[in-house]
């Protein structure tokens, strides 16, 4: 009798510890008979079931914890348990639990425990709450979808941009062709007008009255200016139509030639010109000469009373060469710095400084064709700096193509 009591006490202690251990684990454990009637369960199961222990025991698990696989309820009925007995796979399955409470995701492993005595056989169900993991997965999926959607939108925008940029290029080209055709076709009648007015001027000056002399003089002047304008416009239009393939250009040598050509003008202006080392680049030699010349002529033309100083330099920045021409001339209001690159844009009247306002527009077009950028820095009385960039390496394919 005492032995029996000792043994029972020992077993009780063991069972008590086991029960406590089962109580502290996070996974829910339920033991049911083959019909699904709950015989015991641990504390974690109480929490998932949302009911006190006492209300769970002896009930069928299907009533306590209806499991759903997506939207289909998995009936834990006799058939269900029979299928488990036939196929005692331990692969956990995921279920959705919705019982008037926020949705919980459960990973359920079910295993049948055979026993010699039918009464002791049963089914062990281990349930892990994987709601947090599921939510995280859902959030990641959501993020992935958002990203995919954004990528899609970006792609569409990009395609639109490509399309409109193509449209723009086309209409630019049309416009250019028009300008070219117009200026070209205007030249001939204008030449006729100009020559006859000049003839008139030659033959009839001082033979008519004073007014007539004056009118003829104005007409001569106007026709000459119009001829210059038309010539410049034609020049500008031809920049893209009459191009030479890009080649290796020694800018140092080219600049020397340009300065030689401008020798008289430079000497007259008394300019002091310094020139740093200039690189060899891939470019259209004639156009580069034109670019340098236009910028130099401007620097000389828009000089102040100060002795004129012009500094020419080049600097390598990443994959670009940056050319700068800096003067100490009259400068200009920074608000005009963008405008001056437009066709026929001038900040002065023809009487103050001669010119048609095409020089910088030509520069801009040349630089654009070479895939670079041109801009100016200036302030009134502070001199001006004109900078432009040209890619240091042009691939042969790109080099031979003419950009609009």
């Amino acid at each position: 009798m005492t032995n029996h009591k000792e043994l029972v006490t020992q077993l009780r202690a063991t069972l008590g510890k086991l029960e406590m251990a089962l109580g502290v684990i996070n996974d829910a454990i339920v033991w049911t008979d083959h019909a699904g009637v709950i015989q015991w369960c641990n504390k974690a199961f109480d929490i998932i079931a949302g009911a006190p222990h006492i209300q769970i025991l002896g009930k069928n698990i299907e009533r306590i914890l209806p499991l759903y696989k997506n939207k289909i309820k998995i009936p834990i009925n006799k058939n269900f348990f029979e299928s488990i007995l036939r196929d005692p796979s331990r692969v956990p399955r995921e279920y959705r639990l919705k019982k008037g409470r926020p949705i919980r995701w459960l990973e359920v492993s079910i295993r049948s425990i055979p026993a010699k005595k039918e009464n002791n056989a049963g089914i062990v169900i281990v349930i892990r709450d994987i709601t947090e993991r599921k939510q995280k997965e859902a959030r990641m999926e959501q993020q992935r979808r958002t990203l995919a959607y954004q990528a899609d939108v970006l792609k569409k925008i990009r395609n639109e941009l490509i399309k409109s940029s193509a449209d723009l290029k086309r209409s630019n080209k049309d416009l250019e062709q028009f300008a070219y055709a117009a200026s070209h076709d205007l030249q001939e009648p204008l030449r006729v007008i100009a020559s006859y007015i000049q003839l008139l001027n030659k033959r009839y000056r001082n033979r008519l009255d004073k007014d007539a002399d004056e009118f003829i003089a104005y007409a001569v002047d106007g026709a000459t200016r119009l001829q210059t304008l038309i010539r410049d416009l034609l020049d500008y239009s031809r920049l893209n139509t009459q191009t030479k393939p890009l080649e290796s250009v020694n800018c140092q040598a080219l600049m020397k030639k340009v300065l030689d050509n401008l020798k008289t003008t430079i000497e007259e202006s008394g300019a002091n010109i310094t020139c740093g080392a200039l690189p060899v680049i891939t470019a259209d030699q004639t156009q580069m000469a034109r670019l340098f010349q236009n910028l130099l002529i401007n620097a000389i033309k828009y000089r102040s009373r100060e002795p004129l100083k012009i500094a020419i330099s080049a600097q390598k920045i990443a994959k670009l060469w940056k050319f700068s021409i800096k003067d100490n001339g009259i400068g200009m209001d920074p608000k005009h710095l963008k405008r001056i690159f437009g066709v026929f844009v001038r900040l002065h009247t023809i009487n103050e400084y001669p010119g048609t306002g095409i020089g910088l527009a030509i520069c801009k077009k040349i630089i654009a064709r070479h895939g670079g950028r041109i801009w100016a820095e200036s302030a009134p009385g502070q001199g001006s700096s004109f900078h432009c960039t040209i890619p240091a390496i042009l691939t042969p394919r790109r080099a031979s193509s003419s950009l609009p």
């Binding site: 202690a13 069972l15 008590g16 086991l18 015989q39 222990h53 002896g58």
Partner: protein
């Protein structure tokens, strides 16, 4: 709060007393009448005699846990639980269980008040 002595004196409701091993040491006359046992048959039997089979495991685990920790979870309040009659009938009954340490050993006593509807056992 009822005491074990009070429960032993219970005249209207079935009442039992159980020792620390889970052996029935006392049953009153109402219990005998309701559950269908003869008094000398029930004394000395394990408490599981009057608990439906599918709740035995849960009972043993809970009972052992209380003995190990001394922390009650089901004591001193009315509880609706199943009970097993001698003829195999399972009934719903309102249990009121108390525990006392007597001679340094836990002793338990309960009143078991049947609730109307009887359920056939499986």
């Amino acid at each position: 709060m009822k005491t074990i002595a009070e429960i032993k004196n219970e005249k209207k409701l079935p009442a039992v007393v159980v020792d620390t091993l889970g052996t029935i040491t006392f049953a009153n006359s109402v219990f005998v009448k309701v559950f269908g046992w003869k008094i000398h048959d029930i004394i000395g039997k394990p408490l599981t005699t009057i608990i439906p089979k599918n709740l035995h495991d849960a009972h043993q685990l809970g009972f052992s846990r209380f003995l190990t920790t001394g922390t009650p979870t089901l004591l001193n309040e009315p509880l609706k639980l199943k009970a097993l009659l001698k003829d195999g009938t399972v009934i719903d009954a309102e249990h009121f269980i108390v525990a006392e340490k007597i001679n340094n050993e836990w002793t338990f006593a309960a009143t078991i008040k049947p609730i109307r509807n009887r359920i056939m056992s499986d």
